[in-house]
Symmetry: C2
Subunit: 196 residues, 2 copies
DNA sequence: CGACCCTATTCCACTAATGGAATATATATG
DNA sequence: CATATATATTCCATTAGTGGAATAGGGTCG
């Protein structure tokens, strides 16, 4: 599991508090590995126990003390060996596709509505990734190149989804589906109507 | 959570044992919602308790008795109302992207190797989806259209990933990276070497 | 005949992730 | 002045998912 290492990556850039890490997750790393702050704090505790990070408490008044974490040599080692083990690509896992698969048992109008919602959302996300990508500009150093490439996955991902949604909306439109149904009997199968 | 409904979708096609459902997950539904057999059996138990399915035990000798599940009216209702609630699109969540993001703290050669591995894998998957898609042919009924559309997400997904891997391999090649590093000082920032 | 896969289910220990309540103050916005 | 937002952390109940052991007879392949 990678939350651990995602957090280490964040801290490897420089000392950070749990709050800082959570913020960074919201802004950047979270594009590739979402986590809630409660998860992050818990994980930081474990990292500290395993001495992959050092913790230093900074006195503050008015707010809880700020605990700043710094990566240790062991932590850097852990990151390296993590990066040497092959990781599993993310599997497709989406209710929506299951609903499409079982389209006969499902509310078709609702499906269409959800398609529109998704289309919007994917367009938004696409714009977000694109904006972040633009900031990086021409990638003069390795670090920028890495981030650029990572963002490009996001851009492609959201773009394909948006494109697919558009297509799906057409092919599942009332008119398109009506045409379909009329042709069905060709196959000659005793088509079960789902009435009951 | 949707394992429950994915299983219901499977059973809505006709009575099935846990074993049958597991098989179907391996072959089709699992493309969109992976689950282990242990999960499926557990979930079936819950579905039975909630009376969304009926269970009927078939006597067998030599093997454990086969328990065949049939969807109930309540089960069909549950599917419908599930399909009316909007579902969350899958978030991008991938170690690999985190590694790219933190590329300075990571083993670059290993990264390249893993890229090649992924490329292969995505090409395999792509071929798999494509094969399934071909079988559906021209989608004469709604049900086929749904499945076709679902598979097309898989096709696009794997295709984009494969394409991206190819690009990334080029842009992270030893030569490409060498050129980068030479240009770095332009920005004039005191570039931290990661030596320690 | 041994190795292995197929059918078929149950059970369990474990890890990971969700999601939100609780606590406490400062500053900004309307 | 009320409300919201930002800072900063802790704790916890719950759900979801992993991964494999255990049981047991059947067929297939070399």
């Amino acid at each position: 599991m990678s939350l651990k290492y995602s957090i280490l990556v964040a801290i490897s850039e420089g000392p950070k508090s749990g709050y800082d890490v959570a913020k960074q997750f919201d802004e950047t790393i979270g594009f590739f590995w979402r986590a809630r702050h409660s998860q992050i704090y818990r994980e930081l505790g474990k990292l500290k126990e395993k001495q992959l990070v050092f913790a230093e408490e900074m006195q503050q008044t008015g707010k809880p003390n700020r605990i700043v974490f710094t990566i240790s040599d062991a932590g850097r080692e852990a990151l390296l060996s993590w990066s040497r083990e092959p990781s599993q690509p993310q599997e497709l896992k989406d209710d929506f596709l299951v609903q499409l698969y079982g389209i006969d048992a499902v509310d078709l109008d609702a499906l269409r509505e959800h398609l529109s919602l998704r289309l919007e959302r994917h367009r938004d996300r696409h714009a977000q990734y694109l904006a972040k990508h633009k900031i990086l500009g021409d990638a003069e150093c390795l670090s920028d190149l890495g981030r650029q490439l990572a963002l490009e996955v996001g851009i492609r991902y959201e773009n394909e989804w948006a494109d697919w949604c558009t297509q799906a909306l057409e092919r599942l439109s009332v008119e398109a589906v009506a045409k379909l149904s009329n042709v069905v009997p060709i196959k000659g199968s005793t088509k079960k109507t789902q009435s009951r």
